[in-house]
Symmetry: D3
Subunit: 303 residues, 6 copies
């Protein structure tokens, strides 16, 4: 049975009252921890109840990958419990996961900031907290660089990037999404975050990332992705055939749109591994191929 | 001295009360014909007055190429007059130019429609009357094809395309501007108009055309441009160094934008000739190289 | 009404008793000339009868382009006749066309042979009389070069090339069709004929030519096409949407093939203009773009 | 001394009475096990005799890599024996190797089948048991996809693929080998097996694979190779300079071929690592670079 | 019989006492004019003598194309003479040719200078008078641009460019020949002259031009060639198989070089037409394909 | 305080009396070992003194990477000392490092020599001891191959390669640096050493390597780098932003150069990882991505 609190949270997520991948994830974790603490049932019942409540949250935004990753983590850890009394261990594990993710973010952005040089020209797309933090850290070190950001239709998340960076004092210029050729002709990096990394090192990110990445390769500009290894799911082959969330077409054109017009509004794009130059993570630099290799074959206990 | 009527027209153009390249051109030609008919001056004075009035119109939108092309035509023809009494010949020439342009459009779109086959998938960008007419003609011939169009930020001219084609019964789907990889992966044509054709066969078109053309080439999809030879200026080398009109940044983000944020808002992109597969015109099919060759070296009297 | 002789000819063509593009064309011209000489009707009746008989031949092999081109020529010329008494002029014109085509072949192969140097490595596909003649002429000049030819499935026309060149004393090696990477890695030319040149300079040639041309470009090897300007139809836009002849699937796998297996057996491939380096013709060297330009815009009376 | 049974087996392999890489391997293993069991000699003599008999088999088809790999395994394991009495341990090891290879095949094809989606279009070349099994498993899961296969000259192994898949109910279309451009233009995968994986992740596979892989890259289609890690030899640098088996030219053109014609008939092609998108194995997904890295640097005891 | 003056001139050319393509051409024309004026022979004798003397000059530097072109012109014009008395007409023609070439140079460099914009970054290789003049003219117009030039081994002709441009006040930087990646990554043009334009629009220019052109294409930088139509020979197919002059290996490494070391020292490179973006000439802008088309098919009387 | 011996060494390095990366490294290690042995100070003082002396050496040639790598190693090892009495352990460690590097070189060149086949054509640039040794070893095995080497401006280190290989009996041809297109068109390898390998597998090598690598990729020729894992620094993100040593411009053009001419004379180039096919090391074959992965993630104790 889905608890009332979880129902309310789910509604807020669906109606986008709560938004932003990290924010959604945080709120969901908080509510699930509260839920876990309140349960007084037998072990089996606890697990099935937890599963039901987690599913209810995840289904509101089937392709919000950060959310799904931490919810999967919680379910996996719960299944390692032997009795219901180990709930506190579960809660501690969840908090450690949150903490480790946070630390991973700090190190990954510090690493990225060390890569940036005076005079660099950087293009970014959409809003990524890791990209934002990396650029702020580079700015803190008095490196003089120039950022271009797209507005990122349909929801204009690029404006968040634009505002935060320019308010912070970074030399920032915004352009419409398809106006990238002149910028990439003379740029040093196309820098993005990642929503999910697939089992072959391809990246799922905000729609438009794929096209801009093609243009970056055309001009021999490095598409560098900042991420943490926590975002990478354990190797699943059907990971490669992941369906992409299709969102409301009102986001693209409201009710005054023509009757017979179709609109496609996928939330994400898949950038194939061969277009990505490197991943910067809290564990160091990886190529698309070695990132997944690290997770699945070398450091299998890391997550 | 600039006449009051011309001043009013110029103001309307500047404030975008009159818009659309063909519409602006038509209104300007009408007013200039009226102006020419009213003049009663000596030849020299007539020419310098005409020059002043034409300049005044053109300067409102320095990169509205169709407008500039017909105004240049008028000034050139005026200089061929021997006496002020030949004004009627000038007016007739102007009307012939208008008529010929109109016929050229009809033939070019007929030609394009003959290229389209059942099952074709076509991507277009922005709104081009020639693209619209070509697709409608193909539809009239009962050819079953599918059109994708971008919304074309910042001014959403792609919605004009989307509305007119879907209202006409054509299978039409709109996407945001950077969402073109999945479409081009399986498309047959990237079909656009041209604002100007430069002296080396490169094309000036709505911002974003260049990036989408790069993606089209990545997937080996033909970038086919529909145009008429009337749009091509006589060969000028400084044509190649043409400045691109920069428009109001409010078009991209209104007054609530961050103070320190810069915005670049060029109206146009230059697509280099090597990305363009072919031009379809009223004179037949050209490559970027043979189009200009035709105009300057073979058919030098055609315009 | 289709004459008995034409009916017999058509049957032989259909059942491939008569084969080879030039041979089919020759036989058809001979029969049509005989037919023309025999007619004693009025002008209008003559034209419609001629049309009916020509159509009957052409329809046996809807994509035998050489045949269709000369039959079109005959119909066009017939329409220039003013009275039935000018039949001899028509016959003379047809013979001049045959003669001019033959001379064009000689010059084109002479031109090509002058391009070949000692030590050249040349790959060819299928059998083309123009390629064969060019290589023999180069051999006659004591140039030492090496030819690779594919076997050209399903009908093994490459064996014709292999036999004629090796019998002539040319250093010739045959390989299966897909075994071209090692050869092209160190080759100087991929040399083919053309069945039709389309209105944008793309070439229709034996199936497989497109794939080999892609591999040639991968290794920066020139795809040089030998043709005559007589093969190029007057510019037709629907030329670009030409359907490709689909042949009997028995050619690929006989009656013992699995019941549920589908087989696709197109006779031809379309190689897009951007993969073709140059055309060598009786009129000189052309790029894909200038070849059609020559025919339609410069030398419009040449055919 | 080579035993009579081994001599007979070798003769059958040479004359292609026994064919198919897995079948040859199985028969050879069976005979070698029988041979091992029969020996009653001293240890040193046993080893040299085994070496002689294994060599005799391998030399019949110097480039049948699967055969050579298991024979190497047997020789290596034999050298680990301390006394002749450990023959049973050797036989057990050989059987475990066979078993492990079989299981690896099952997992690799299961993994591949999970990658295939409804609507996928897949091209394959030659016959690979792993490809066949993968596609059958995907079909068993009710996924609706379309397979194209080449006929694979000169020995038409593609017909085996064509027959087995179409008999199984899979939507299968066969084409001649060079007819791949139209298919790859709209395909999702070029899927092949591997005869050997070289020390730099390049793949040795049926002649023609390289050219088709070039065309796949041209259209941005993933060349995915299914293999097991058992096929990869321990890292040998001269692995990179492997000679390719040249087979009888009668396979290409029988005795009626022209006297002076040369024919090249290599059995295999080497596809360089940069053309291969990924390997699917029983151990998961690898890039060409990480596959060998896994075998030599991470899991060195795995084989 | 070769005259003493011509012998002396030939010796000076061979020993590089006279150098620089234009300079050699000028001296040779002057001497040939003197020779023509002195002859008092019959027409046939005159022609054969002229042929002998011209040959003697040309053979000193078999690949000095400018020299050969004007000498061919002289021989062709001489053959148009009807009697020996028309020698003055011949001399006048030669002078007109010289004058026209000079004017062509002026217009071509003026045209090029109009293409250059403020902020442009231009790479050039070797020394070309047309490149030098174009850049000086752009500088005269107060355009602010930056030039990089290579030193151009083995004879350091790039130093001539470096000196003349920097002395003229142009912002000029010299680098060694292979140090072009960082420059081309952010450049606008790779600008060179041409020694000969071949019949397919490929260009023969100083060794190294081909490699730098490949790098320019890698970074999508236009390789723009400045030339005059006078440099283009009438269409000859064996033009395509032109041998490249091999020069003294002492130029690369003097007498102290190792005994067994081979050195290859070709004077020129052939840049294939597909790497060249455009030609700027006195007749306007051409693509590699339309340049030759112009000369052979449109303006056949122009030279 | 910097010792007198170290001061003298530093002066000799700066004035290029001591040159060649390995030689400089050896001399510096010898002097530092002598310095360590002489110290009689407290631990803290010892460390700071060592740091000061090492810095003094390194600063003479800030981009002599081999030197810096071994000096870093010494400082790191010194910091592992617990007391000043462990100096002998430190000295032993330094000698082991020297020994291991030497052995690594031997194995890496042996590995490379096993990759070379009869008939191979190899281009190399500058002088690399590893390349030299590899080619000599292949020659010792009686493999018949052909080497091309560039002269490598400005300091002509290619002549060292040219002399040593040709004196050794290897078929060696030298060309000027930009004369590489004709060679790479038909070559099998572009083989170089590496000055440093960056954290993403990119390579720092003699200026010109990047451009030649671009041309190699153009012709699908493998850029193979021979190195040892000892050259790879532990993963540092600012490794990626490494400044490149700028050397005296006199090396390019001496005192007679024009006053206003600028010269850029970087010592090194950075070749991005995607242009490099493989690394051959003493540990086996790596891709650019797995080489660093090996060092940082798998074999972290190896250096």
């Amino acid at each position: 049975m889905v608890s009332e609190d979880i129902k309310k949270l789910a509604k807020d997520i669906k109606e986008i009252k709560i938004q932003g991948a990290s924010n959604i994830e945080k709120k969901a974790i908080d509510e699930i921890i509260k839920y876990i603490r309140k349960q007084k049932t037998e072990y089996t019942e606890f697990i099935s109840g937890l599963y039901e409540n987690v599913q209810h949250i995840v289904l509101q935004r089937p392709n919000e990958p950060k959310l799904r990753n931490s919810m999967s983590y919680i379910l996996n850890k719960a299944q390692e419990m032997l009795t219901i009394n180990q709930r506190q261990i579960l809660v501690d594990d969840i908090k450690k996961y949150e903490q480790k993710t946070k630390e991973g973010n700090l190190i990954a952005s510090e690493n990225t900031s060390n890569m940036i040089k005076d005079g660099d020209v950087i293009l970014t797309h959409c809003h990524s907290t890791l990209v934002e933090e990396s650029l702020k850290k580079a700015h803190d070190k008095n490196i003089k660089f120039k950022v271009y950001c797209t507005e990122t239709r349909p929801l204009y998340q690029g404006r968040i990037t634009a505002k935060r960076l320019s308010d912070y004092g970074i030399d920032t210029t915004m352009v419409v999404d398809a106006n990238v050729c002149n910028i990439l002709k003379k740029a040093d990096y196309f820098l993005t975050g990642a929503d999910v990394v697939l089992a072959d090192g391809s990246v799922v990110n905000k729609v438009g990332t794929h096209a801009i990445s093609v243009v970056a390769e055309h001009y021999k500009v490095s598409h560098t992705v900042i991420t943490t290894t926590h975002i990478c799911e354990p190797q699943l082959f059907n990971n490669l055939r992941r369906a992409i969330e299709t969102r409301e077409i009102d986001e693209v054109w409201g009710k005054d749109r023509p009757k017979k017009l179709k609109i496609e509004n996928p939330a994400f794009d898949i950038v194939p591994n061969n277009l990505i130059d490197k991943y910067i993570t809290e564990e160091g630099i990886f190529s698309p191929e070695t990132l997944y290799f690290w997770i699945n074959k070398v450091n299998t206990k890391s997550i």
